[in-house]
């Protein structure tokens, strides 16, 4: 009775990390509990139905879960919780979707009352066909995704054993010349391939693209890759050409500017979700080839319409890649039912400890508004308030001071408001990348930054995702998209890529004191602190005083 784990009544698990058995315990509970917070001393895991079903999908049974809880728990585990765990897990797999030689796709139940219950639901009725026997009912093949989504909502998740189409074969191999998949990347690929479909959770900078490439090399089939934006698409293409046997000609880009369909096609979410006259004109991309694998980059950003298309693609293998399963819109259950259960995850800190991502020093700098600014802030309209406090002139001074402090290092200045960025670009004498910057220009600037020709780059939120800036060691965030936690994670990710000289990364967030900017910042930073990135808070005055070049 002196275990490292404390089971709370709200089904969170507190794990004391300094305990000698903490590692064993982590391994035991990771399959079924979602890591929610990982600050320095006590990590919080949460047991959710989705998590328990993830565990079931991965082949764990209720007994293992109960044993893990009882074995590592410091205090007696409430009986009711154990019963609840067992009951929840027992709900998974009572219903299975499978291929029937005569009737096609069928839903089979091992528990007849459950089948009766769900068939009585109005939401299920339109999705199923004729009753074949007491335990089996036909399902319209087109509704394979829909029914999984609906059944999950009803609390009876179905196990999808209907298998996958192989798709059009296409030779793809990893070109492991001078590099190799890291052990955890290999495990992720294996976990995914074994499970058929699902999501791999890896921190930013841990090489998710390579996991995608590994999966493609396993599938050896035509692949559709969905990414967030064009820059990211180019990045994927570049990486694939470099790391696999694929050539430039085999990889197509399907975006706003180009519409190529090749054996491997990279499409952006934006072009897929463009609506013209009430229809999605680019939807046919999904049917344009017999895809053997579909890769979703940044699953947590998957727009709602893509879920709808995905529901129709259940016969194809699907791989989701993400840094976090947390969605600001709470659609985690759709990810579970449509893309698949979580197949692999590794917390940031663990990969950092293995030396694959750089440690970071996070600092929040609090600036004071000037008196006139305070007055103006108080009178500003509600919707203008954030913009007003986020773009205070004091921030510019602080940013300049920071850039001076880290002169010679590769510095990214990230912000939300174009005016502010333009002004900063002017003062810092640095190029600005924003929405209107052409893709060619963007790539040119990124390249120059990568080569070290430019040491300071000012970027808007267009650079939030998937761009690779290997040598950025300092990021200064002057404003953000309100309180978005995943944006903060992405931005931190910019500086987490391992540095050639192993030197520490810095992440500065400049925040106006006593304003909603501070509230938003607190919300975002909570996420970082929960990931184990402790941050400091300093006053702008101290920083400037320490750094003033002209005393």
């Amino acid at each position: 009775m002196n275990g490292p784990l404390i089971v709370q009544s709200d089904k969170t698990l507190l794990l004391e990390v300094d305990h000698e058995r903490a590692d064993d315990c982590r391994r035991a509970i990771a399959p079924f509990a979602e890591l929610e917070r990982a600050p320095e001393h006590i990590h919080t895991y949460r047991v959710t139905p989705l998590g328990l079903w993830n565990a079931r999908a991965a082949g764990h049974d209720a007994e293992q879960v109960v044993d893990a809880l009882v074995e590592f728990s410091r205090y007696p585990v409430p009986h009711a919780l154990l019963v609840d765990v067992a009951e929840t897990m027992a709900r998974y797999g009572r219903l299975t979707l499978s291929k029937h030689p005569v009737h096609g796709l069928v839903l089979t139940s091992t528990d007849r009352p459950v089948l009766e219950e769900i068939l009585r639901s109005k939401k299920v009725q339109p999705l199923v066909g004729a009753r074949i026997d007491a335990d089996t009912v036909a399902v319209h093949p087109s509704e394979r995704g829909q029914i999984k989504q609906t059944l999950l909502k009803l609390g009876w998740p179905a196990e999808d054993l209907a298998g996958y189409v192989d798709g059009e074969a296409h030779a793809i191999d990893l070109a492991e010349d001078g590099w190799a998949l890291r052990p955890y990347q290999k495990q992720a690929v294996e976990g995914f391939w074994h499970g058929g479909s699902g999501v791999v959770v890896l921190p930013c900078g841990a090489g998710k693209t390579l996991v995608g490439a590994g999966a493609m090399a396993q599938a050896k089939a035509t692949t559709l890759i969905l990414v967030t934006n064009t820059v990211s698409a180019r990045q994927w293409k570049h990486e694939l050409v470099k790391r696999t046997s694929l050539t430039e000609d085999e990889i197509g880009e399907y975006s706003g500017t180009r519409k190529e369909i090749r054996p491997v096609t990279i499409a952006t979410y934006q072009v897929l979700t463009t609506k013209r006259k009430g229809i999605y004109p680019h939807l046919e991309l999904f049917d344009s080839r017999d895809w053997g694998l579909i890769v979703y980059d940044e699953v947590h950003l998957l727009p709602a319409p893509v879920f709808k298309f995905t529901a129709d693609l259940q016969a194809r293998r699907r791989l989701g890649l993400t840094a976090t399963l947390v969605r600001e819109d709470g659609r985690e259950s759709d990810v579970f039912s449509l893309i698949g259960p979580k197949r692999f995850d590794a917390p940031w800190k663990e990969i950092e400890a293995q030396g694959y991502i750089a440690p970071a020093d996070c600092v929040e700098v609090r600036v004071n508004l000037t008196e006139s600014e305070r007055l103006a802030y108080a009178t500003a309209e509600t919707e203008e308030k954030y913009r007003f406090c986020a773009t205070t002139a004091t921030k510019r001074k602080v940013t300049e001071a920071l850039v001076r402090k880290f002169a010679g290092q590769q510095i990214l200045v990230i912000g939300q408001y174009i005016d502010q960025l333009d002004e900063l670009g002017e003062h810092l004498d640095a190029p600005v990348i924003k929405g209107e910057t052409s893709n060619a220009q963007r790539e040119k600037l990124f390249d120059a930054f990568r080569q070290g020709e430019i040491s300071v780059l000012v970027v808007s939120k267009v650079a939030n995702f998937s761009i690779d800036l290997p040598e950025a060691t300092v990021a200064i965030q002057v404003s953000g998209t309100f309180g978005s936690r995943q944006e903060e994670a992405q931005r931190l990710g910019r500086v987490l890529r391992p540095k050639a000289d192993g030197h520490q990364a810095h992440f500065y967030s400049v925040v106006a004191r006593d304003t909603i900017d501070q509230d938003f910042a607190a919300h975002r930073q909570r996420f970082l602190a929960e990931q184990g990135y402790a941050y400091r808070i300093v006053d702008a005055d101290e920083l400037m005083a320490a750094d003033d070049p002209t005393p």
């Binding site: 709370q8 917070r37 728990s73 205090y75 585990v77």
Partner: protein, 846 residues
């Protein structure tokens, strides 16, 4: 308790009697003191008030209410024995009873259990007479014997004699002839002959061999009851065959009945289809190690304390209002359940538990609200194990049943938590019995609930099996089917609630009785001193299992503090103010927010205090963002000061005042600049404070003298309240002192009434003088008069104390009243028996 407590002594003392007793009173008279004490202990209702003598005791023991009560307390086998006696001839020899119970084939289990059952019935004065003349008390016989209105649980019909009363001689002749019996004109000998035929196994078999097969199928349907069948005026041949031979006797134009003797033949002599001599076993369904059970239960016990504390803390600032009809509104219960993060019925349990333990009550103010009682503050000071025993003993004895909350009563009203009508007198008994069954298992073993329910049904087939409304109906339940007892009945529900509640309270762990629960169960059986010892032992067993309160927390950079176990009270109290609780359980997770830090500053703590407090109680270095947060809030805290007398805002920083004035949100506050550093407000200080805080400032309230007003949470209490007393059913079980005193009094009275006296010249009651007789004689005479329909002369004292003499013809005697035709007043009147001074038969009936 069940069948275990059989007193063989009664049996012995009876055997020693020289002449067989002729009445129950005589039978009682032959019993020893110990045996009488056992009777009075088993049927305490006989003692209130203490009867004058044994005749009175016997009369009272034969009253319907008392017999019903006694029957309800019988286990299934004893009840089956009584039922068998009720269909046996009166008096019945033991052999006849045994034959009815075992049937022709014999049943060793039944034979072994039968003497015990007979002894129990005899102990309880439901049965008297020696083994060759067993007599069921008449009332019991009436209750249990089959009648058309109340079919017997045995499924047997009336005897041939009862069923043929009033049959025409012609019909008799036909029947006798058809059955192959010699004709006779005497109905009595006809009955005897027919009954003898039915009871004679050989002749009866021979008769049935000649029956058409369809007739046998008809008998097959009736044999295990109900014995009545409907027929058409012109029945089918098989039925006619049976009817002609008296195997079916008409009870009315369209119904026939299978006479008892015939049914018994078909059943091979058995009164019951399935005699149940052995209680259904309760065996372990799961076995855990006793350590696991104890620690789980202790963990839950600790949770129980925390839950009660949390509940009452939630109501500290004045709890929910009391409904006009009493109790907690559904909405308030829902809110409480949400606050405690548990389902409503669980919340109802905790609320009721706290109420039952006297920790919360209505405050009795004009607008009544619930609040903690002063006893709660005392309870808080107790060590946890004693807190727990307080709750657990209150639960064990309570007649209030939280499980009923939310269900509807007979009138369709929803029963409210803390409301009236939640008392169920059966609850403590059932609860204790369920726990006793758990205690009967090896340590660490948990039974299946079904088995517990089956066992309870066997032990008290009649009790609690009645309506779900649960008021112990004394009317017809005795004749209700003994096989009743679906899980929907009140007793089973109470039993199931007991299992859940025991788990919630930590009396059981994983369904098995914990060692402290076992110790506690010993309480409440003996004297107060014994109970106190048992409670203390339970507390002592529990104490080492309860986690030791900690004096430290772990602070983390995400502005949380984790207390990896229960905290010492002062530490927990301070943290409750300084941070918000985010998650509870074995550990507590606190989160620091600007609002919570401000709350601590508002409560009069200085920033330096808070830093020192955190540094002292943290196992880990205080994270920089947390120190910064405290300083940041403290920096702003009290910067603005707001007056109460005439609301104002003052601030040294006139830019800030300008800022406030310029803010559109301040318009509702009616602010005006008084001086460069002072603003006056039209709004009252509270609204002003809210407004300013809403704008993101941290103003401090200021008193007239200019110092900072401190708002601190205070705890609201009711005036002193006593906990609601459990409402047990019937009088309490008498203790030995009372018993022996009562026995002495009865014996003395008996001596006085039965002592052979010199016959005093019976002074004929002079005219005008009231007749005087003892109450027993009065009752007997009046009952006899009611039976014979004759008139009697009574002396009567009316409510004003005026005495009169009346001549009445009693019609009915029941419930202590005589309903009679009063010749004096020339109308039907009802007289309370206790007002009748005496009674005399009239010399010559009119």
């Amino acid at each position: 308790m069940g069948t275990g407590e059989r007193n063989q002594e009664a049996h012995v003392s009876e055997g020693s009697a020289a002449t067989p007793p002729r009445t129950l009173a005589e039978a009682l008279r032959t019993r020893g003191d110990a045996s009488l004490a056992a009777l009075l202990r088993a049927r305490p209702d006989l003692l209130s008030p203490v009867p004058n003598d044994l005749s009175q005791l016997a009369t009272r023991a034969a009253t319907r209410a008392s017999v019903v009560r006694a029957l309800e307390r019988l286990d299934r086998f004893t009840l089956q024995t009584a039922e068998a006696l009720a269909v046996a001839p009166d008096p019945a020899p033991y052999e006849a009873l045994r034959a009815l119970m075992t049937g022709d084939d014999g049943d060793p289990a039944v034979e072994a259990a039968l003497p015990g059952a007979v002894a129990t019935l005899r102990d309880q004065a439901l049965l008297w007479g020696a083994d060759d003349r067993l007599r069921l008390v008449r009332t019991a016989r009436e209750l249990l014997a089959p009648s058309p209105a109340h079919p017997s649980p045995t499924g047997l019909g009336p005897t041939v004699a009862e069923a043929t009363a009033g049959m025409s001689p012609g019909r008799w002749q036909e029947t006798l002839a058809a059955a192959g019996l010699p004709p006779t004109h005497d109905p009595v000998s006809a009955v005897t002959a027919l009954a003898a035929l039915f009871s004679d196994r050989t002749r009866m078999s021979a008769l049935l061999d000649t029956a058409p097969p369809e007739a046998l199928m008809v008998l097959e349907r009736l044999v295990w009851g109900p014995p009545y069948g409907e027929v058409t005026p012109d029945p089918a041949p098989p039925v006619r065959w049976l009817r002609d031979r008296g195997l079916l006797l008409p009870t009315s134009l369209r119904t026939v009945v299978l006479p008892r003797e015939a049914a018994l033949h078909l059943r091979a002599g058995r009164a019951h289809r399935v005699p149940e001599p052995v209680p259904p076993a309760v065996v372990p369904a799961h076995e855990y190690s006793p350590q696991v059970v104890d620690s789980t239960a202790a963990g839950q016990a600790y949770t129980a304390l925390a839950t009660v504390e949390e509940l009452l803390k939630d109501w500290n600032e004045g709890g929910p209002a009391v409904l006009r009809s009493g109790g907690l509104s559904v909405r308030d219960l829902k809110r409480t359940a949400t606050a405690l993060d548990m389902p409503e019925h669980t919340a109802a349990f905790w609320v009721e538990l706290a109420y039952g333990a006297g920790l919360l009550a209505s405050d009795g103010e004009a607008s009544e609200r619930y609040a903690a009682t002063p006893a709660y503050d005392e309870w808080l000071e107790l060590p946890p194990q004693e807190q727990w025993t307080r709750l657990a003993t209150a639960w064990l004895h309570a007649t209030r049943t939280a499980g009923l909350v939310g269900s509807q009563d007979a009138k369709g009203r929803i029963l409210a938590a803390l409301g009236p009508d939640l008392d169920r007198s059966a609850a403590p008994e059932v609860r204790r019995r369920v726990l006793a069954l758990l205690a009967g298992l090896p340590e660490g073993a948990a039974p299946a609930p079904d088995q517990v329910l089956a066992r309870l049904r066997w032990e008290r087939p009649l009790r609690g099996a009645g309506a779900a409304s649960g008021s112990t109906s004394t009317s017809a339940s005795a004749s209700a089917s003994a096989s009743a007892g679906t899980p929907g009945d009140l007793r089973s529900r109470i039993a199931l609630w007991t299992l859940t509640e025991a788990e919630l309270l930590g009396v059981t762990g994983r369904g098995a009785l914990s060692s402290h629960g076992r110790a506690l169960l010993a309480a409440g059986q003996g004297t107060d001193a014994e109970e106190a010892t048992a409670v203390a032992r339970a507390a002592a067993l529990l104490a080492p299992l309860i986690p030791e309160p900690l004096d430290h927390v772990l602070l983390q950079a995400d502005l949380t503090a984790v207390a990896p176990g229960p905290l010492r009270r002062p530490l927990a109290d301070t943290l409750d103010v300084l941070a918000d609780v985010e998650s509870k359980g074995g550990a507590t997770v606190y989160r620091f927010t600007p609002a919570s830090v401000r709350r601590a500053l508002d409560a009069g703590r200085a920033a330096s205090d808070l830093h020192a407090f955190l540094a002292e109680h943290s196992r880990t270095p205080v994270p920089q963002p947390l120190s910064y947060l405290i300083d940041d809030v403290a920096r702003k805290h009290g910067h603005l000061r707001v007056g109460a007398a005439s609301a104002y805002v003052r601030c040294d920083d006139d830019a800030m005042l300008g800022e406030i004035l310029a803010d559109k949100r301040s318009q509702g506050l009616g602010l005006r600049r008084l001086a460069p550093t002072v603003l006056a407000a039209q709004a009252d200080p509270a609204a002003l404070l809210e407004g300013l805080r809403g704008m993101g400032f941290a103003p401090a309230a200021e008193s007239a003298a200019g110092d900072v007003l401190i708002t601190r949470a205070h705890a609201y209490r009711t005036p002193p309240r006593t906990a609601p007393a459990p409402v047990p059913e019937g009088p309490p079980t008498p203790d030995d002192t009372l018993l022996s005193a009562a026995l002495r009094a009865i014996r003395a009275g008996d001596m006085a009434s039965t002592a052979v006296r010199k016959e005093a010249p019976a002074a004929a009651p002079s005219p005008g003088e009231l007749p005087r007789t003892t109450s027993a004689e009065t009752l007997a005479t009046v009952q006899a008069a009611a039976l014979t329909g004759s008139a009697v002369w009574i002396g009567y004292v009316n409510a004003d104390g005026a005495a009169s003499q009346r001549v009445i013809a009693p019609v009915r005697v029941e419930g202590g009243f005589v309903t009679a035709y009063d010749h004096t007043a020339d109308e039907v009147r009802t007289y309370p028996l206790h007002r009748i001074t005496g009674v005399a038969e009239l010399a010559d009936s009119p």
